[in-house]
């Protein structure tokens, strides 16, 4: 079966490679249509069609089916819908029915479908690096387990926090059978929060945050709109209070104190650069100020001094927080337990527990501890471990001391890895028992108490892999299919807690919905230990050198998806750099060190060092160096190592993609050495400001106003554009008139839309060298502009895509009619008619047209399986651009016509709008009265970018509103 699958898929790949046609992918499930090109006479090459032998009833070739499942790209466990076309999942989208994520899906989630087709996945079990059968692998593991028992050496499982009930039950069964112990360690941990709650509330728990309830919000280095905990859920909640309309009651006020410029900070109403060493004093000061205003009578932490600017901001924040008691929230991403204790104290005083954050039904992700990993490393080093099973973590890369772990693991009797793909830890394993990709397996997730989310396969396994739960159960002596196991666990632990009567009915309904919420036993919010705040010590002065701020970026997170080209090419929302990390410095530090962008610097601490290109980051706290983690992986594959993805010119050489900073991440201070070399960053945007050089004038591209002014005048900051004269009467759109509105108040720059667009529209990945030459192919990009003081700038994001102008300048200039206007207001780009003069791109005021400079290789046949068969793969020499997802429009029309009804514009949701967790993008038919798109057109905040040149865009923006309460 698996063999056959691969055959069929490879046949398809060959075909795709030969002719880049996409129509022939029919029904991969049961043997498939595979089209082969062979022979060549006067006619075009003869194509063969091999029909499926046994096509099941209900399966219709050429139609997409959607499965509800759970995204497994990070522990947040957002609900996802997998689009399956002819047996292949080709797209993940947010599941609106999911209780947490409610419809959005982040960049990494969107990209994770491509991980399924990663050629670095294991294709079969391995023993000593050689492919073996499952029977052989199981025998070897069982022998080692028995031998460990006999020789008195321990059996250990190193795992992340089990994602759900199924995984936990399988783990328990295994542990029970072999008397083993599990070391639970999470690469992206939130231990300080867990510990702090143990100290303040007597319970080691991670609260669930309800940003929707928070009208005043203060963040300390918590990138909750970027990559912190559950960004999709948080963005959804946060955005509820961010888009003012006239009937809107209150816009939230958000202050962020942070060292690096994070996407969250960039979206805050007030952002104050704050070095890490000032974080605890600042939290203490805020606590004391809030205590003054709320009448806290208990003991207080000692006074600490913070920079003056921060102190002023903290006073303002304290005023507002206290005034919004019960609707206020303070969050911190700090890994310092004391800081978190102070934050808990402040939240307690503000009455936030039970209102804006909840311990009663806590979040259940990332419960592990580093101590568990160090204890295990010590045990390993002492040679006490007979069998080590590693599941879902990669400490040989991202552990706090990866080299120690690697050395220790060598002393284990046998290391068994359950990793689905190559990684640094699997490289140490004697036996690899590869797991499935999430889209191939039955599993579940429990991101929070009472929230159960199902993972169901969207395709039969591509390779000879086995779900991790099946492996653990097999070794526990209770072999069961993952499906049966999952059903069993759910019958016992979920079904029993619902009111449903029939399990089968409950099960199919749950599968269709994707997630179930059950009554979780309320644990109560716990009692706050009033003595805790006073136990906090004020920190000593920081050491010399730079304070490290190594963070999880929106694209790379902890590096688990480093081999995903979609994420490598995704520009960081803030730095706009792709393909590798860079060391960011505050402008004043850069000036002092004589750094310019691209200058190589060596960061070192202890014995470890890393070389990175420098980057000057406005708004970064002086005395810090910030860089993204997750790069510089050695065992992740060709993409992570940044091998060229496009044919290079003979004179161009490619360099590696970023540096691994995990070894430096626990250092207190970093020495920075400026090296002689340069390595230009591959940035998708090189001009950071809307202020022109030479004139100092600001371009009216991104309109802003303050909430206060907005309340006085809803059109504030958005003066009506002068209406110019036209030579032409214009055309009437009688049927649909497609249009889009983007709310700049809601756009957080998270870039989910960008990846969604890439995945939906087969946008080519071009690689580092090409991005450096400004040749990225993004149809939809998120422009990021700074304004004001470079020490502490204001930031704004603006998604920019084809504006589908009614008077499109690109259309007039195309000599061959390759781009013309449709009767429904679309600016159509006909790839097959394009001869590639690029005149249209030159004449585009928004510069949203992208040219295929090369045949952007679709050489990795496996990756090609992700290509959307509904969208043609463009050949070289043609222009391409955003089509408003015309394939979705016409598919929806076909559905409507088949069903004999007329299409409603609001039925069509383009990929970008679908993915947006904040709901910033509204798409629809202007002629459909009362539709969101038609209503958006009446919004007083609506404006067209560059309205003065009279091109009449169909994409319009809503003014960004900042809450200037202070």
């Amino acid at each position: 079966m698996n063999e056959k699958n691969i055959d069929a898929l490879e046949a398809e790949r060959d075909d795709l490679h030969l002719s880049l046609r996409r129509r022939e992918f029919i029904g991969a499930l049961g043997g498939a249509f595979a089209a082969l090109s062979s022979g060549c006479g006067l006619r075009p090459p003869k194509e063969k069609i091999v029909p499926a032998a046994d096509l099941p009833e209900g399966a219709v070739p050429g139609r997409a089916d959607w499965y509800a499942t759970t995204c497994q790209a990070c522990p947040a466990a957002c609900g996802a819908l997998a689009k399956v076309r002819d047996g292949r999942p080709i797209k993940l989208e947010g599941n609106p029915d999911h209780p947490l994520s409610r419809g959005g899906l982040c960049a990494r989630g969107q990209a994770s479908v491509l991980d399924l087709y990663d050629s670095e996945r294991f294709r079969s079990p391995l023993a000593g690096g050689k492919p073996v059968s499952w029977a052989e692998a199981d025998a070897a593991v069982l022998a080692a387990l028995k031998q460990a028992g006999a020789s008195g050496r321990a059996v250990r499982v190193l795992t992340g926090t089990p994602a759900g009930l199924s995984a936990a039950a399988a783990l328990e069964a295994f542990l029970a059978r072999w008397g083993a112990k599990a070391a639970v360690y999470d690469p992206v941990g939130h231990e300080a929060i867990l510990e702090a709650h143990r100290l303040t509330h007597g319970r080691r728990a991670l609260p669930r945050y309800h940003f929707a309830q928070a009208k005043v919000l203060v963040g300390f280095d918590a990138d909750f709109l970027g990559a912190w905990l559950s960004p999709v859920e948080f963005t959804k909640d946060w955005s509820r209070n961010r888009a003012p309309s006239e009937e809107f009651d209150l816009m939230s006020w958000h202050a962020q104190f942070e060292a690096r410029m994070s996407p969250t900070g960039a979206n805050a109403d007030l952002r104050v650069p704050l070095a890490p060493e000032h974080e605890r004093p600042a939290a203490a000061l805020l606590g004391r100020l809030v205590a003054d205003r709320t009448g806290w009578s208990g003991p207080r932490p000692p006074r600490a001094s913070v920079p003056e600017r921060a102190e002023r901001a903290l006073r303002d924040a304290a005023d507002l927080l206290a005034a919004a008691k019960g609707r206020a929230l303070v969050v911190s991403g700090s890994s310092d337990v004391d800081t978190q204790v102070l934050v808990n104290w402040t939240n307690h005083m503000l009455g936030a527990y039970g209102a804006t954050l909840e311990l009663s039904r806590p979040a259940l992700i990332a419960q592990g501890s580093r101590a568990a990993l160090s204890a295990l490393t010590a045990e390993l080093a002492a040679g006490k471990v007979g069998v080590l099973v590693v599941h879902g973590v990669n400490p040989a890369y991202d552990g706090p001391d990866a080299s120690a772990f690697r050395a220790a693991a060598a002393k284990a009797g046998l290391v068994v890895s359950l990793a689905p793909r190559r990684d640094e830890t699997a490289a140490l394993a004697g036996i690899v028992a590869p797991g499935h990709h999430a889209l191939e397996s039955w599993d579940d997730a429990r991101p929070g108490a009472g929230v159960h989310s199902l993972v169901q396969p969207a395709m039969a396994p591509l390779f000879d892999t086995r779900s991790a739960a099946e492996s653990l159960l097999a070794w526990a002596g209770k072999p069961s299919s993952a499906h049966e196991h999952l059903r069993g666990v759910w019958r016992r632990q979920v079904f029993s807690r619902t009111k449903a009567k029939d399990f089968e009915e409950f099960w199919t309904e749950s599968l269709a919905r994707g997630a179930v919420t059950v009554e979780a036993p309320g644990l109560g919010e716990g009692r706050f230990d009033a003595a805790a705040p006073a136990r906090v010590k004020t920190p000593g002065l920081s050491a010399s050198g730079f304070a490290p701020v190594f963070f999880h970026s929106v694209a790379m997170f902890d590096g688990r998806q480093a081999n995903n080209p979609l994420l490598q090419e995704l520009p960081d929302p803030v730095t706009k750099a792709t393909w590798g990390n860079c060391a960011s410095f505050a402008p004043e530090d850069a000036a002092r060190l004589g750094l310019v962008e691209g200058r190589l610097v060596r960061l070192s601490a202890g014995g470890a060092s890393a070389v990175l290109p420098a980057h000057v980051q406005p708004g970064q706290a002086p005395g810090t160096v910030a860089a993204a983690l997750g790069y510089g992986r050695t065992e992740a594959g060709a993409v992570a190592a940044n091998f060229p993805t496009v044919k290079m010119l003979p004179i161009e050489k490619e360099e590696g993609g970023g540096a691994d900073l995990y070894a430096l991440s626990s250092a207190a201070s970093i020495a920075v050495e400026v090296l002689g070399g340069m390595s230009a960053l591959a940035k998708s945007q090189t001009q950071d400001s809307l202020t022109e050089p030479f004139t100092g004038r600001t371009r009216d591209v991104l309109r802003e106003t303050s909430y206060q002014e907005f309340l006085m005048d809803p059109r504030s900051g958005n003066p009506e554009a002068e209406k110019g004269h036209s030579l032409w009467p214009g055309h009437e759109y009688k049927g649909h008139k497609w249009a889009m509105a983007v709310d700049l108040s809601l756009c957080t720059g998270c870039s989910a839309c960008v990846v969604s667009c890439y995945a939906e529209n087969n946008v080519p990945i071009v690689g580092k060298a090409e991005v450096r030459k400004s040749r990225d192919m993004a149809w939809l990009r998120v422009d990021r502009y700074y304004s004001g003081d470079p020490e502490s700038p204001e930031t704004a994001f603006q998604p920019m895509l084809c504006q589908h102008c009614d008077n499109a300048p690109c259309e007039t200039v195309c000599p061959v009619l390759a781009t013309v206007h449709s009767s429904e207001g679309l600016n159509m780009q006909v790839y097959n008619r394009c001869v590639g003069t690029r005149y249209c791109a030159n004449n585009c005021p928004y510069k949203v047209r992208r040219f295929n400079w090369f045949d952007y290789a679709h050489e990795d046949g496996l990756k090609n399986l992700q290509l959307n068969p509904d969208v043609v793969v463009r050949t070289r020499g043609v222009m391409e651009k955003c089509s408003f997802c015309v394939q979705r429009i016409y598919t929806a029309k076909a559905e409507a016509k088949t069903a004999g009804r007329t299409l409603k514009g609001s039925e069509v949701v383009p990929a970008c709008a679908q993915s947006c967790p904040a709901g910033a993008i509204v798409f629809g038919d202007l002629n459909e009265a009362g539709s969101p798109a038609a209503r958006a057109a009446e919004d007083p905040r609506i404006y067209s970018v560059l309205a003065e040149i009279g091109v009449g865009p169909a994409v319009r923006y809503r003014t960004k509103v900042r809450n200037k309460k202070v």
């Binding site: 063999e3 055959d7 002719s19 046609r21 129509r23 029919i26 499930l29 043997g31 249509f33 089209a35 006619r43 075009p44 003869k46 194509e47 063969k48 069609i49 091999v50 029909p51 499926a52 032998a53 046994d54 096509l55 099941p56 009833e57 209900g58 399966a59 219709v60 070739p61 050429g62 139609r63 089916d65 499965y67 169901q456 396969p457 039969a460 299919s481 499906h483 199919t508 269709a512 449709s822 009767s823 429904e824 679309l826 159509m828 006909v830 790839y831 097959n832 008619r833 509904d870 969208v871 043609v872 793969v873 089509s883 394939q887 016409y890 076909a894 016509k897 088949t898 004999g900 009804r901």
Partner: protein, 365 residues
Amino acid sequence: MKRFTLFAALVFLSGAAGAAEKAAAPSPFQRSAALFQSKCAKCHTVGRGDRVGPDLKGVTERRTREWLSGFIRKPADYLDKDPEAKKLLEKFNGVRMDVPGLSSADADGLIDYLETASAGGAAGGTEESALAEDAPEERITLPEEGRRLWVPGLAGAFLLAAGAALAWRTAGGGPAAVLAVAALGSLYWSAGGRARHHLLGDQQGYEPAQPVAFSHKTHAGTLGVACLYCHHGAEKSDVAGVPSTNICMNCHGAVRKAAGQAGPSPEIAKVVAAWERRADPKGPRLEWVRIHSLPGFVHFSHRVHVNNEVRCQECHGPVQTMERMRQASSLSMGWCVNCHRLAPGAAPTHWKRAGGPLDCAACHW
């Protein structure tokens, strides 16, 4: 096992999606008529003769209601045991009726429908194979590469001829002959010669040999199997699809010899072999040669056209007369656009809508 559950989920989901789309409730009779169209009409007619199965006109008079209801619900039982049914099975080449999942209410409704239809109450006009015109394929036209080009062609011929005459007088025979030949060529082209020459890449008339000598003439013509019976994707999906082997086996599970032949047909044997060894990756596979092939940058939706009552033959030609399948139309863009341009008055009356979109993006994504 895994696959089964996956399909179960798939079937469930597609069913759920379908249920959600159902419009206002139709009358019971309408529902039965629709049921007949979807479940029965591919093999049976009412008053249009035997197809794969018998003509059902007047069947309610021939059989009892109970017998019919039982047969509809559990055809297998009857085909195995009931003598009447066994006789029919023999008559219709051993093709076993297999319609799963009909309730007794469904069966009653169907019998009511058959009664009415036999009496002529429900015109058979909506029947799948009924064509509103006698030969819609005759409206297939050659691609008009040079629409209205005969005027400039003729003018060119005239000018060239005049030039030739002048050259004859002033420069002699050689130059005049060249111009005269050019004039003749132009005349030929404008007088219709242009229609006789295919442009490069025009596949019209392509009629390759297939691995199995499948005859559309026999199946669609003589036996009158509805097009959508095998190419069922055409009404639900953009892709019509080459039928999967299990569809062949619906009939050829029993039928092993061609009409009028004594022994088993070697052609059918190929299909049977492909079916029986379908699980074997090295087993024989049916590698059909693709005939209708649009370039990758063109999207054609079968379901939109089929649901607009555009007949299969209007594009694919008189398939029911083709022993070997051939491409009847050029499938060029101009050919597509000629129909899309038809105004409501000019379009065939049986189409639900006339005047298809002329936007590039309607086909080129």
